[in-house]
Subunit: 205 residues, 2 copies
DNA sequence: CATTATCTGTACGCTCTGTTCACTATTTAT
DNA sequence: ATAAATAGTGAACAGAGCGTACAGATAATG
């Protein structure tokens, strides 16, 4: 059920409609502009700047997105689809560990981490952005981890009374915390440390 | 070295100086206004609104604070001094567990949690706010936990190769994550679950 | 050609920001 | 007393961004 179009834009029900079709090139330029601005400049994301950077009319942006952050979310989602792929081979522990380390590496890369900060800032400021961010960014990633955890619980690799949501929080929220707030070192070794710390709590007594 | 005055306001070196002394009542009204607005209204904190709510001149706010969020931070720091008190009795594990549960309860209370959201939003948007937030809010609380962890490592209650910062991240960042982003249930029982999950990773093998 | 929808460009009112200025108020130093 | 210094008020101003509206050009379908 991949939503290949945007999250906030008006959906296009039929495949072909009357009027002038949307210019996909323009859309790309706009998403690129947002991603670029969010990576280089700071958090000061606005329709004004994005439109200028993309060489598009501000009116067009208002037409398709409700806020610059929802626009940026679309950009990020398209640019990180690959990050949802994951092996289904190996033990549940190995797969979960790999996901933690993937997450650290994705978020520590500047071209993902910096825009994600802007996105999170929007999520804290704007309810709609928060909802979209959770639904389209956080939830799909949590679902992957949840799936692995449930697998492990069924096979007996993990204890059966785990609070899946809490485990996911313990494993992944430290990464966001470092990215967004403390900016403490965020590298592969932190992912490993984190995993080693939480893993003992997953095994059956 | 408690800074009894504000974080961002110009420090007062000598106890007595020349000119008209600052009106402490006015300062309180301003801090109250910020705390109230941050709790009731949304994140839309601004000098304009705060000044109006406090019945003060906007110029006065600009005089003492660089941003509405630094003002709010001052308000929050004064209103939560008590939360840094902690027992020094009992095992390190018991004390750390108590701090986790305290944290959940403080942050789940609307009159602390909501302003903290506004504060965090500011921290993501403004570098100065972020630095102040870390220095005056996060760090002192992390220091308490770090102290307990080091105690436990010395007495052998915890393993000696713990990464203190990572442990603190695992224990506390899920709380902020729920408060700020997912808004999943944040109650005492979540604190207990979290503790039970991470605690096995602390004990010597 | 008529219709429908996209995109552009301009313009306007709005709110908040950050700063300046003149003025009043209250304290200490001489 | 009077001067100097600092706090607070209130008004004004330019500037940025927002959100919206409108007129017109462009490009597809029926």
């Amino acid at each position: 059920m991949l939503n290949t179009m945007s999250t906030s834009a008006h959906p296009r029900p039929g495949s072909r409609t009357r009027g002038r079709p949307r210019d996909p090139e323009l859309r790309e330029r706009i998403l690129d502009a947002a991603a670029t601005l969010a990576m280089t400049a700071g958090i000061e994301l606005g329709f004004e700047r994005i439109a200028q950077e993309a060489g598009a009319s501000r009116t067009t942006l208002y037409r398709w997105w409700d806020s610059p952050q929802e626009l940026l979310l679309d950009a990020m989602l398209e640019r990180t689809r690959w990050s949802l792929d994951h092996d289904s081979e190996g033990t549940a522990a190995a797969r979960l560990r790999a996901q933690v380390i993937d997450a650290v590496e994705i978020l520590s890369a500047p071209d993902t981490g910096r825009p994600l900060r802007a996105l999170a800032a929007g999520a804290l400021t704007n309810e709609k952005v928060r909802a979209s961010f959770i639904e389209h960014w956080l939830e799909p990633r949590r679902a992957v981890a949840a799936r692995i955890l449930e697998d492990g619980m069924i096979t007996g690799e993990f204890r059966q009374d785990l609070d899946v949501e809490a485990v996911i929080d313990a494993l992944f929220s430290p990464i966001y915390h470092r990215l967004l707030l403390t900016r403490m070192p965020l590298g592969r070794s932190f992912g490993e440390t984190l995993w080693n710390l939480v893993e003992p709590g997953l095994s059956p007594s």
